[in-house]
Amino acid sequence: MRVGIPRGLLYDRYHPFFIRFFSELGAEPVISPPTSRAILDAGVQCCVDEACLPVKIFHGHVRYLKDKCDILFIPRIMQLRKGEYICPKFCGLAEMVTNSMPDLPWVLSYPIYATSMKNLRRWAQETALPVTGDRKRIFAALNAAMREQARHKTGYDDKGYPIKVALAGHPYNLYDKFINMNIKEKLNRLGVGVITEEYVSDEDAAQEVKALFKKPFWTFARKTYGSVAALAARRLVQGVVYISSFACGIDSVIIELVRDRIGDFPMLVLKIDEHTGEAGVDTRIEAFADMLERRLGHEGHRSASGQCVYSCQGPF
């Protein structure tokens, strides 16, 4: 039996888990190819206009897999930690897909509450049902998948660059090279190293979050805000590059909170949607890198008339 797994949204983070789980059960996982223009266009055609770019791309991946699998797996991730959520669109992802595309194969979308082993076992049983009903085998597959996932590491922490920036955003914007137009390579080429939230210790991030009036109730908001604030406050980076999809509700909150926390600290917010042109992104990244370089004083920060153009005596 072929199980289709779309390479969209949180695939980059959780693919070892899902792939291993289904192959242990004896199913054959079919995975859509990396995001491309064709996949994006297919997604834009069938997805609701108001959705954000990553959701549209997810639709494109589903459309690619539609006729190539017997069962379609749409992870409906409700909670990753107790009392925290992801975006509402994740909770209704299966409905979004099934209502915007006709003739889909059987869809597996039992809600995932990754808050306890009990909840995960329940999910595994419900999800494995079309493949096998053997509980022993299902739990063995779940355990193997969990071990596989524990070995999987994402994130960047570049060493040896003169300038370092925090690269922030939702995982699907950071790790899908089509969405972000390979921003990491671009920054590296300009002599800018990046560090992502995975390399910020939980204590540092938690300390920043604790200073808020209300604990953010989105897992990504908590982690992203905490780690960016920690990196900027401890001066471990010289700037922040935030990749945000247009009309992302969660980003509109995180960016505002981060801005409030870091004040004048350099931050570049790159908005991306299906119309984003690469040239404009390049220009902005180059300008940002130049600005960071000048702040460091590597370049002559004196104008021709001998007056200091940029003052380094700001709050940072």
């Binding site: 997805c47 609701v48 108001e50 959705a51 409906r76 409700m78 009392g83 925290e84 959520y85 992801i86 975006c87 509402p88 669109k89 909770c91 209704g92 409905e95 979004m96 209502n99 915007s100 809600p111 808020l212 009036f213 209300k214 953010p216 109730f217 989105w218 908001a221 247009f246 009309a247 992302c248 509700g249 969660i250 980003d251 509109s252 909150v253 960016i255 505002e256 909170l257 409030d260």
Partner: protein, 365 residues
């Protein structure tokens, strides 16, 4: 302490009754207008949703009139509304306004003790006895409920009235008269009077007006300014409307939700399309669409602010409801840039289409 609350439809009338009853000093911000929205959008983050911007405008206008404490409800996701208080506080502080926030949040997020502490901050500033405070609260709830029922009656009767515009005039008068009453007791009396007047409006019982349900995001459908007075527009067109989401519904729903007894009808109706609660009122939106189809409505209009995450999901599902039930749904997205002319055209076209469907000649030219 001088408290204020943001606007949400008729809530300001009930809020006035509550604060008058408690004997607390208060400021009701000026009614929502272009001014509030302009102040709000000037200082708000660009991509935040419309309610945030209007509410920020309310706060600033109220602070300029002397308010120093904002009372607002919270929520714990996954919709953005839960983060409003944090962002509003930071924004206002950055703008140099010294203002306190009392956030009435769900006990499961902040604990019963913290909730009691926050509530007592409001209650303590009142010189009255405990019993009188409870009385004031119950009176305010009663006023809210009366207002909601009068509004519902007027919206329904707008299609049947013999003299066009009677219901709309009575409804507006009712709001103004009630708001100008001094005490909660007088307000309740006034509301009863208007309730009777609306009941007594001469009606054409043979009329068969179009019936449209207004569904969608709770703030934008309750607050008339944010939806460009859609219900008044529909009343003017002689269309009966119904909206299930009201402030008193919200109170009831919030109190009953820990027991899972909230709105069983809506939950049952939405089961085929959206069996899980995904935040905001997406599930209610789907449920209401199905319920209005069941009660013989001609169509539904969904309104939500640009970028509203839960309603985007329901917008995806509504075409399936429309297809399965043969029940037309119009979606209107509002933000601070919405132009009124285009908005009216779409509503009129939708109403025309519904009218033609009745005579079964849609397929013919």
């Amino acid at each position: 302490m001088k408290v204020t609350v943001p606007h949400l439809g008729n809530v300001y009338i009930a809020a006035k009754a509550l604060f008058e009853g408690l004997g607390v000093e208060y400021v009701i911000p000026p009614l929502n207008s272009r001014d509030a929205l302009e102040i709000g959008s000037l200082y708000s983050p660009e991509e935040i949703c419309l309610p945030f911007k209007i509410m920020l405008g309310n706060y600033i206008q109220a602070i300029e009139q002397g308010a120093d404490t904002v009372i607002v409800t919270g929520s714990c996701g996954p919709c953005r509304f839960g983060e409003y208080c944090e962002m509003h506080m930071k924004l206002l502080r950055r703008l140099g306004y010294d203002v306190d926030f009392i956030v009435i949040d769900a006990p499961k997020a902040i604990g019963m003790k913290e909730l009691a502490a926050r509530l007592s901050r409001v209650a303590e500033s009142s010189p009255l006895s405990g019993r009188q405070k409870w009385r004031a609260l119950l009176q305010a709830l009663k006023i809210m409920q009366l207002l909601d029922s009068i509004e519902a009656k007027a919206h329904d009767k707008a299609g049947y009235e013999k003299v066009k515009g009677t219901c709309r005039r009575l409804l507006n008068e009712c709001r103004q008269k009630t708001y100008s009453c001094e005490t909660p007791e007088r307000m309740i009396e006034c509301l009863h009077d208007y309730s009777r007047m609306i009941d007594g409006t001469p009606c054409d019982n043979d009329a068969n007006p179009l019936k449209i349900a207004v569904i969608g995001e709770i703030y934008t459908i309750i607050e008339p300014f944010s939806n460009l007075y859609i219900e008044d527009k529909l009343m003017n067109m002689g269309i009966s409307t119904r909206r299930l989401l009201t402030p008193s519904w919200w109170v009831k729903n919030t109190l009953l939700s820990p027991l899972r007894l909230n709105s069983p009808g809506i939950r049952r109706a939405s089961r085929d399309y959206l069996p899980y609660s995904i935040g905001g009122h997406a599930r209610e939106c789907i449920g209401e669409a199905v319920l209005s189809w069941k009660s013989g409505f001609d169509g539904a209009i969904q309104v939500f602010p640009m970028g509203c995450m839960p309603e985007i999901v329901s917008k995806t599902i509504l075409p399936s409801v429309a297809r399965d039930k043969d029940f037309p749904v119009l979606t209107l997205v509002v933000d601070e840039m919405t132009g009124e002319a285009g908005y009216i055209t779409r509503i009129e076209a939708f109403a025309d289409m519904l009218e033609r469907r009745r005579s079964h000649d849609v397929s013919r030219s």
